[in-house]
């Protein structure tokens, strides 16, 4: 059965008006909030979530929801209510999670980073073209790709001017940075697939070149620590994601979830944050391309 076209989330995150700042909101794990419910509800919610565990991404999503420590109790309460209300259909359950997560997107704890930090986003030219097209700047990927081919090797000033109206991502941008204050890709491999493995980028793009975009966040956009909220609010759930561990929380950032082969070789990720999409006039270095 197809997911409902009109999943209606009946609740909303209460307004901040008259409440303590969100940073001080009580944060409980999903399981702690669920245990406050009657046993029958607990069983029902667990049974519905178990339906997601038939594939790797769903299984990991359920595990991550339980492991997440940066989500407010209010959101978990809404999620539990909506899971209880929705039908026991895998697609509807995942869409319910998606819709609830969208209520709280990009409102997690602010990341810790220095002023004028250079953030980095690695993307294929095709994906950037799709982003430009999805954001409504072009009629086709062919036209967007022609624009990117034309400008990607031009100097920073030209690119910033030419792309100044274009956002570099849609909905949520995932980015890396060097906590020591250097350039984001400076200490990372110059081979596209090796970089993909460390950043946890889609494996399906293996063998394709990567464009490296370095930018400074404008003052009105804050980088935040990634949470399940950002990982599971998109139409496609992020596979390479794990809730931020305590040691990284203390440092004030998340960490990329490396490919299995990197993890097996003892490799770890690099600092990771999420933020609202920025326009290309935030670019701070020439667009680099690696293959």
């Amino acid at each position: 059965m197809a997911p409902s076209a009109n999943i209606y989330i009946r609740q909303s995150i209460p307004s901040d008006h008259g409440r303590p700042p969100r940073e001080e909101e009580q944060r409980l794990r999903f399981g702690e909030v669920l245990r406050q419910r009657p046993v029958t509800e607990q069983v029902l919610v667990k049974a519905k979530l178990a339906l997601l565990e038939r594939d790797a991404v769903g299984e990991q999503a359920v595990r991550n929801i339980h492991d997440e420590s940066l989500v407010e109790e209010t959101l978990w309460t809404i999620l539990i209510d909506e899971l209880l209300a929705c039908t026991s259909d895998r697609d509807i359950i995942s869409d319910t999670i998606r819709q609830v997560m969208r209520l709280d997107q990009l409102s997690g704890p602010k990341a810790t980073y220095r002023p004028a930090t250079l953030f980095g986003r690695a993307t294929t030219p095709e994906e950037l073209a799709r982003t430009f097209k999805t954001n409504g700047h072009f009629g086709s990927e062919a036209a967007a790709s022609a624009n990117i081919r034309h400008y990607r090797s031009r100097g920073l000033a030209t690119v910033r001017t030419a792309w100044r109206d274009y956002k570099l991502g849609t909905y949520v941008m995932w980015a890396t940075f060097d906590a020591a204050g250097g350039r984001p890709f400076e200490k990372l491999p110059r081979a596209a697939d090796a970089l993909r493995a460390i950043l946890g980028l889609p494996k399906i793009d293996r063998g394709r070149p990567l464009l490296l975009l370095e930018y400074v966040l404008p003052p009105f956009i804050a980088a935040r620590i990634p949470r399940v909220v950002e990982a599971y609010s998109g139409d496609n759930w992020v596979h390479y994601f794990h809730p931020t561990r305590e040691e990284d929380l203390d440092r004030g950032h998340g960490r990329t979830y490396v490919w299995d082969e990197v993890a097996e070789a003892g490799g770890t990720g690099v600092p990771e944050v999420v933020h609202a999409p920025v326009r290309a006039d935030a670019l701070a270095a020439d667009v680099d391309e690696i293959s």
Binding site: D91, G136, F138, G139, I204, H239
Partner: protein
């Protein structure tokens, strides 16, 4: 699990599915549920389908194309089982899967229906993008009406569609809607594509035609692009020193000179002098656009003239135009303005566009003001000394 292991394995799995199973896989995938390609759950639906399509056998590719066609047909019939994200994912796969295929035209009717009638603008926009990507051929009127209904956010689609299907209509439409930051930004972004599609010379010509109507910012961006690409635009170089209002009038005439503007500067100079005589001789403002239109008409090919006259014609009533044409014994030209004229389809379509513009009463007042200013300029003694910078 590694991607390298999985792609061949997934290809093998998909090729062993029946036609119905393959269709069910695409349906599930587009709706965020994929029990087959579990290791690729996190990849965007359209991306995995598009990538796998290139790996599949000929038979499986055909099955997949037909499955996409059936789904597009369902969406075109307003099937409620399709929610917004799934429709948009489906529309996104039409480009890589159907483009260039023999069957792609079968999707166009449904896509037109979605573009015109779906309740969500995001879906209508994505459907319009799919039409553009699949090379949908319609009259410029279709795209111009779409812009009128949907607003400037559709500008990138409209510009690209006109560039692909009726390139000569693009400047006509642009002139009618600029200055406008959104439209100009879309045009600027498309310049590299337009050069790949039509060549630098054709793009330079369009820039020359629309330059006078661009906003200051838009003009600066486009000129910077022209300079960096060493595009020689045919008109604006001549007019940089002229007053803006006369610039506007004269560029319409200059643009009508096609590329002869750059190749035959003396002929251009003569055209300019003729324009000046018109402006000096005519005191009835209403007759100026008609006579100027006739002048351009008499000099240039019908198609180009029909398009380039639109800035004038849109401000002139049909009756006025007919009257002016009769005065100079050019009644036969009237036939070209008739909707049932037996012109080739493309020319008839363009003429139809011009006609629509000509009958738009909202724009008449603005151009009469422009003409009034132009007349004052024509009486200015300094005007005599203005010569093209040849």
């Amino acid at each position: 699990m590694t991607g390298m292991d999985t792609v061949p394995s997934l290809k093998n799995t998909l090729e062993n599915l029946s036609t119905e199973q393959l269709e069910n896989w695409v349906r599930g995938r587009l709706r965020g549920h994929d029990p087959i390609a579990r290791d690729y759950q996190s990849e965007p639906s359209y991306l995995l389908i598009a990538r796998m399509y290139t790996h599949l056998s000929r038979n499986a590719r055909e099955d997949l194309r037909l499955a996409v066609l059936r789904m597009v047909d369902e969406v075109g019939q307003s099937n409620d089982e399709w929610d917004e994200p799934a429709i948009i994912s489906l529309l996104q796969v039409t480009d890589p899967i159907l483009r260039g295929s023999a069957e792609h035209h079968e999707a166009l009717g449904s896509l037109v229906g979605v573009t015109l009638r779906h309740r969500k603008q995001t879906v209508r926009f994505a459907a319009a993008q799919a039409l553009v990507a699949l090379g949908y051929m319609d009259t410029p009127r279709f795209w111009i009406d779409l812009h009128a209904r949907e607003g400037k956010t559709f500008a990138p689609v409209i510009i690209e569609a006109l560039a692909r299907t009726s390139f000569q209509s693009l400047p006509v439409w642009m002139i009618s809607v600029i200055p406008d930051d959104t439209v100009e930004s879309a045009f600027f972004g498309l310049l590299p594509f337009l050069i790949e599609l039509r060549g630098a010379e054709a793009v330079a010509h369009i820039i020359g035609q629309i330059d006078f109507k661009l906003s200051p910012n838009g003009r600066a961006r486009v000129r910077e692009f022209s300079d960096s690409e060493k595009l020689i635009t045919p008109t604006y170089e001549y007019f940089r020193a002229l007053p803006a209002t006369f610039d506007a009038m004269a560029q319409i005439l200059a643009a009508g000179d096609d590329l002869r503007t750059t190749r035959q500067p003396l002929a251009f100079g003569r055209a300019l002098r003729r324009l000046r005589r018109f402006l000096r001789r005519e005191t009835d403002l209403r007759s100026i656009p008609s006579l100027l239109a006739l002048e351009v008409w008499s000099r240039y090919t019908e198609t180009i003239a029909a398009m380039l006259l639109s800035p004038l014609l849109r401000n002139v009533g049909l009756a006025e135009l007919r009257s002016a044409l009769r005065e100079v014994g050019a009644e036969d030209v009237i036939e070209l303005f008739s909707p049932d004229a037996s012109l080739p389809l493309d020319d008839a379509a363009k003429t139809s566009v011009v006609m629509e513009l000509a009958l738009d009463p909202r724009k008449r007042e603005a151009t009469r003001n422009l003409l009034s200013q132009a007349e004052e300029l024509a009486r200015d003694p300094d005007f005599e000394s203005l010569q093209p910078a040849v």
